[in-house]
Subunit: 393 residues, 2 copies
Amino acid sequence: MGVVLSDFRPVYLTEPVKQGKLREISIRFAEFVAASNGAGGPNAASGTIRAAWEKYCVSPRHIESRRISVLPDAEAAKDPADLDFATIPFTGMFPAKAGGADIDDRLATFRTHARAALERMYPESSDAPGELIHVSTTGYRLPSPAHELVSERNWFRTTVSHCYHQGCYGAFPAVRMAAGSLAAARSGLARAGGRVDIAHTEICSIHVAPDCLDPEHIICDSLFADGFIRYSAYADDAFREHGGRGLEVIRYADMTIPHSLDAMTWRPIVNRFEMTLSIDVPRLIAAHSEEFIGTLLKDAGLDLEADRGDIIWVIHPGGPAIVDLVGRCLRLSKDQISLSKDTLREGGNKSSATVPHIWERILRDPDVRQGTRVVSLAFGPGLTAAAMVARVV
Amino acid sequence: MGVVLSDFRPVYLTEPVKQGKLREISIRFAEFVAASNGAGGPNAASGTIRAAWEKYCVSPRHIESRRISVLPDAEAAKDPADLDFATIPFTGMFPAKAGGADIDDRLATFRTHARAALERMYPESSDAPGELIHVSTTGYRLPSPAHELVSERNWFRTTVSHCYHQGCYGAFPAVRMAAGSLAAARSGLARAGGRVDIAHTEICSIHVAPDCLDPEHIICDSLFADGFIRYSAYADDAFREHGGRGLEVIRYADMTIPHSLDAMTWRPIVNRFEMTLSIDVPRLIAAHSEEFIGTLLKDAGLDLEADRGDIIWVIHPGGPAIVDLVGRCLRLSKDQISLSKDTLREGGNKSSATVPHIWERILRDPDVRQGTRVVSLAFGPGLTAAAMVARVV
C-alpha cells in the first residue's frame, strides 16, 4: 500500500514582520520588562540590552521576516517607539509576575492561537478525517485543540492523536504515525478511513525570555517563528479517487546521533519551555549525514552519487549554519540548498511546521515534474536525525 | 498481518505502601508544607488538614496500597510520626519555594525515576528493538529517558517515538502506533524490525499538591500511583519465531464523548501538572459505553449479547465508581469486573500503565485459555474512550 501526502494548507494568523523591526521591538520589550522588574540588575540598563541584541540577534541577511502570533498586526504595524507593552495582550502579562507570564498563562495563549489556527485549517464545510494527528513541540494541554475541534464539529468518531514534544523533526514521526494508521487499517485492525490528517501548531513566540540576555537565548528568540499547517495522508487508492498533486512516501528512517545527548535540550520550566543549544550541533549532525542519507537512499532504490543531482533536497533550516554544513557533507550545490535557505530567510525556523511548509512550496511549483524525488532531513533533541524519501505524484 | 503484544515486564522501583499509612504520611507532609510556609492561611491548621484528608482520601476499601517513587522504601517503612520531610529528597524540596518544588525540579525527579525504570526494563543483555515508544502523561523533557537509553546502549538505529500527554488511555494510542509501524514496515516504508517496544513511565507522585485541600485534589493525590511497564509488539511471523504467550490485536477504536470537553483537564502549571475532574465523568463515559463497545465488537466479528460471558473484560479503573458504572452499562457480572477492581485495589490508578499491568496479569494466569477474547476500555481527557479487542495466543 502506498501513502500520499497532499492538500497542504498553511494558515497565517498574522502578517510577517521584518527582522530588523522585530529586533527593535524585542529590545524595547526587554527594556519594558527590566523597567517593570525595577532597576538594579545588570540587564536593566538599556544600553546593555541593546548591545546584547545587536550582537546576537540573527541577522536580517539570514532571516528577512517572521510571523509572531503573540504580537497583533495592529501593534506590529506601529513604530516600535510607540508600543505600549503594558496594553498588548501577551506582553502585558510580563510585569505581573517575576520572569514574566507563567507557563499556565503562556499555554493558555497557546490554546487561543492553536484553536484559531485549527479553525482556519478546517472551514465549516470540511469532511471529518478518519484521524487527526496534532503535532506540537510548543504547547500541551488536555483537552487539546484537536479534541476541541473534533468535539465542536461533532466528529466523534475521528481518532485524535498527539505527536508532542519531538522538536523540529516532528513532521517525520507524524508522517510515520499517519502511514502506520493507514497500513494498520488496511490490515483490518481499525475502520479504514483512507485519510489521516496532520495539523501542526507551533507557537514558539509564547516561549520568549526578554529578560534573558544570554547569547543562545537571544539567538533562539530571534530565530524561531510561529507556524501552522495541515495536510492529509491518503492511502494510494483514496488519493487516486481524490486527485490533485502529492508526495508519495517511499521510505523513511531516523537515527540517534552518538554522544550528543547534551547538545540540545527542551524542557518545561516555571515560566516557559526552555531550549539549550550547544555550538557543536551542526558539526554533530553533519558528521553523520552522508552515511545516514546514503543508506536511506539505497534502501529506497536510489544512489546518492548517481541520483544526487535529480533530487529536490529539503534540509530543515534549523539555523543559518546547519544547511550549509549538511549541504557540504552531502556535496550539494548552492542551488540544491537554496530552497531550504530561502525558507529560513522568508520565515525563520517554524519548528516542526517548517519542513511541511517546504513540501507545500514544492507541490505549488509548476516547474517541479511528476516523478521527481524529494529527500527531506530534519534534526532535533536526542540528537535525532529523521529523513524521508518521497516522489512527486 | 497480525500484531501480538508480548513480553510484559512490569518494573517496581519501590515497595507498595498501605493506603492508611499513605494517608497519614500525606497529612504530615501537608502539615510540614503548611508550617514551612508560615502560619496564617486556613490550611496551616493541623486540624483542618487532617479533617479534609480523612473526609476525601480514597478509602482503603477501594485502594489497599500504592507504590510511590518519590518516597524511598526506608522512609516509607518508618512510623509516619518519625518522618523528617526536610531531609527526604522529594519532599525536602517543598519549603524552598512557594507552592513546593517547581515544574523543573519535579521533571528532574521524573527523569531520575524514569531512567531507573528504563534501565530495569532493559537488562544489559537486551536486544535493540526496531522502535521504542515511550509513553508518559506525567513527564516530558528532551532528550527523553528513551533517548538516553538508546544512546547509552549504542542503539543508534532504534527509532525513538514519544506517545505523550494522552492521559490514562495512553496504552491505546501506543499500541496503535506500534501496530502501524509494523504494518508500514511490512509495506516497505521502513526497515522491517519485526518488534516495536512500548515503555510506560508514569510518575504521578511528582505532581502532588500537599498544600491544596480541595476535595478533588485530595482524591487525585490519594488515587494515583506510579507505574512502569514495558512490552513488545511483534509482527505475527516474528512472534511465532519468538514463542511465548501474547495478546493478538484484533481491532481497536476510539471516540470523543459528546459535550464533555470540560469534564477533565490536565495541564502544566508553575509547580506541577494539574488535573481537574468533574463528578460527571463516570456518567458521561458510561452513557456511551454500550454503543461504542457494541460497534467495536461487531467490527471484530463478535456480538456483545452472545459473547459477553466468554470475554475477559478490562475496564481502566480510573476510580472506584467508573468500573461499577461501565460494568452496569455493559451488563457485566460482578465476577467480570473483578479483575479491574482488584487492580485498583492492589495498586491504585497508575495512569496509562494501568491497563498494561492488567494485560500482564491475564497472560500470567494459567487458567486463561488460548483463544480467549480480551476486551479493554480506557478513558481520559477529551473526554476520549479508547478500546481494543484482542485474543490470547
